[in-house]
């Protein structure tokens, strides 16, 4: 069978990409970019003038060959035929990232921030490239159908997702582990494993497919999209099951984000208690941050604790994948025969999760950024410019406004040394900025002092970009495999199970937090 379709499609996709590159490079899109940037600098200017050029040229060349060349059966024909579909997905991912997602953000920002959360509605609802990529894919497949020439390429999308998960390892480092107290590890371990076990148990009671139960358990137990994507191949989850899981997690998080702060205030929880609860009960990172900021808009203590809990969950991911691999084989292959655990691990454990661990290990060595980085941000004050006498005077004149002892001490050290001296002081100064107890001018000086010691590792920034692209690419393709009939077939069971497990976890973790957590974790 010859797979390559003699179609002008890929050639046309290449021309469209080149047109984007040309119009952006010649300033023809400047007005629109200004609108999308909403008063700031448009973030994707550099991408628009490079990425579409290279992929446009590639598409035009291969597209011309596919259109006019002669094709015969073989491996080359099979693999190269997927380029058209892959470029189709990439073009849609480009449109989502550069134009659609920013447009949604502009509309959302015009509606103002939501209550005390300090965040806009698109942030709280998680309306980013992840959701928009999947939705765009679903719309295309259900309204227009995936064209014949693109069908082979749609199946490349999972390769993109797996590569993205491996690269996720670069964003974390084992140095983070030293921030974790024993209680946070025990709590996260208990609730992650408990949620996974409960979803699997409920799934079997309610007769949902093993693949659906498996992927939902990882999503509900660990944390959102990455865990869902990482566990999907192990349990052979269908695209619609992955999308259902992501939808359930995001919807659950939206509800929690509004209800958690209300309950926290009613119970008079401390910042540490609330941070531990939000970090355990809410699944999506942005939503955890939203709830923490809603609870403590004038500081970052809650957010810090919630983030620690959030990171711990990601690090449990390989263990969960291993568990699901064993569970799935036991359930699917033979109920009567004894399963050889070693053999199952060897045969089924996904190599790409080992890749995640490998890059996590490389990141820990400090190969990509100083070993103490977290998501590419690190503290370094060795080459920091000192405060000018005027700046120091400005801060000194208002130092009496600061009432909290810890903040007073951090400010004092900043004034004595002319720069922030430790990562703890930096966190305290950030809290002081958020609290807005000093004037705008003083806050400006504090922000400068903070920025002078916090650095972003260029390599990690580049990795983040790659991961975003790979996920956007993979999720658009994933959406293209979801038809309305497959959604009907999956039914409403995942949402019911997700809701019950989520609620149980939220209530139990609230009880544990109230009973055990004090002022530290």
């Amino acid at each position: 069978m010859v797979y390559t379709k003699k179609s002008p499609a890929l050639f046309i996709i290449g021309v469209i990409m080149l047109a984007i590159w040309f119009t952006a490079g010649n300033g023809m899109l400047d007005g629109y970019m200004e609108h999308l940037a909403a008063g700031k600098k448009y973030k994707y200017g550099a991408e628009l003038t490079t990425i579409p050029l290279w992929f446009g040229l590639l598409s035009v060349v291969i597209g011309a060959w596919q259109w006019f060349g002669s094709h015969s059966e073989g491996a080359w024909d099979y693999y190269s035929s997927s380029v058209a579909g892959a470029m189709f997905i990439l073009l849609i991912a480009m449109l989502v990232r550069w134009f659609i997602a920013p447009e949604v953000a502009v509309i959302s920002m015009s509606m103002g921030k939501v209550g005390d959360t300090g965040k806009y509605i698109h942030k709280l609802l998680g309306l980013n490239y992840v959701v928009m990529g999947i939705v765009t894919g679903i719309v295309i497949v259900n309204v227009f159908k995936v064209p014949e020439w693109a069908k082979n390429g749609v199946r490349v999308s999972r390769l993109g997702l797996k590569t993205g998960v491996i690269l996720l390892g670069t964003l974390y480092s084992a140095a983070e582990l030293k921030n974790l107290g024993g209680l946070s590890i025990i709590m996260i371990g208990f609730f992650v494993l408990g949620s996974v076990g409960m979803v699997l148990w409920m799934g079997s009671k309610r007769n949902i497919p093993n693949s659906m139960g498996g992927v939902l358990s990882a999503g509900m137990g660990v944390c959102g999209v990455s865990a869902t994507v990482a566990s999907a191949p192990v349990v052979q989850a269908k695209s619609v099951e992955i999308a259902y899981t992501i939808g359930t997690i995001l919807l659950w998080g939206v509800g929690c984000m509004f209800i958690f702060p209300i309950i926290g205030n009613l119970l008079g929880m401390s910042y540490v208690q609330f941070g531990a609860w939000a970090g355990t009960g809410i699944l999506n990172s942005a939503q955890v941050a939203g709830a923490a900021l809603a609870y403590q808009p004038d500081g970052i203590e809650t957010l810090k604790v919630a983030e620690i809990f959030n990171i711990t969950r990601v690090l449990v991911l390989p263990i969960i994948v291993l568990w699901l691999a064993l569970w799935y084989v036991k359930r699917e292959e033979s109920v009567t025969e004894t399963v050889n655990v070693g053999q199952v691990i060897f045969e089924k454990f996904p190599v790409f999760v080992l890749g995640f661990i490998l890059l996590f290990a490389l990141s820990t060595t400090g190969m990509f950024a100083p070993a103490n980085h977290y998501k590419g941000k690190y503290f370094d004050n060795t080459k920091t410019k000192l405060l000018s006498p005027e700046q120091a005077q400005q801060l000194l004149s208002e130092s009496n406004k600061v009432q909290v002892a810890e903040r007073q001490a951090a400010l004092q050290r900043l004034l004595e040394n002319g720069k922030i001296m430790s990562i703890d002081d930096d966190n305290t100064i950030r809290g002081l900025i958020n609290a807005k107890v000093m004037s705008k001018d003083s806050n400006k000086v504090l922000k400068k002092a903070h920025k002078a010691v916090r650095h972003t590792a260029k390599k990690i920034k580049a990795f983040r970009n790659w991961i975003t692209w790979l996920f956007a690419f993979g999720l658009v393709g994933l959406g293209m495999q979801i038809t309305v009939s497959s959604m009907k077939q999956a039914g409403g069971q995942p949402a019911v199970i997700g809701g019950v497990v989520g609620l149980t976890k939220a209530v139990l973790s609230l009880i544990v937090v109230m009973l055990i957590v004090g002022e530290t974790v």
Binding site: V156, K162, I166, L167, S239, V351, F352, F463
Partner: protein, 39 residues
């Protein structure tokens, strides 16, 4: 979709999950070293 292809599966162009995993690993390492030497 499966019937249209005599190789791979509905979700992947590769013959097995493991082969796809290795391709993803190779791709990720190429990107990682590319980033390492470029930035």
């Amino acid at each position: 979709m499966e019937n249209n292809f005599d190789r791979g599966s509905a979700l992947s162009i590769f013959g097995s999950d493991r082969r796809e995993d290795f391709m993803a690993l190779v791709l990720a390492l190429v990107i990682a070293f590319g980033v390492y030497f470029t930035y």
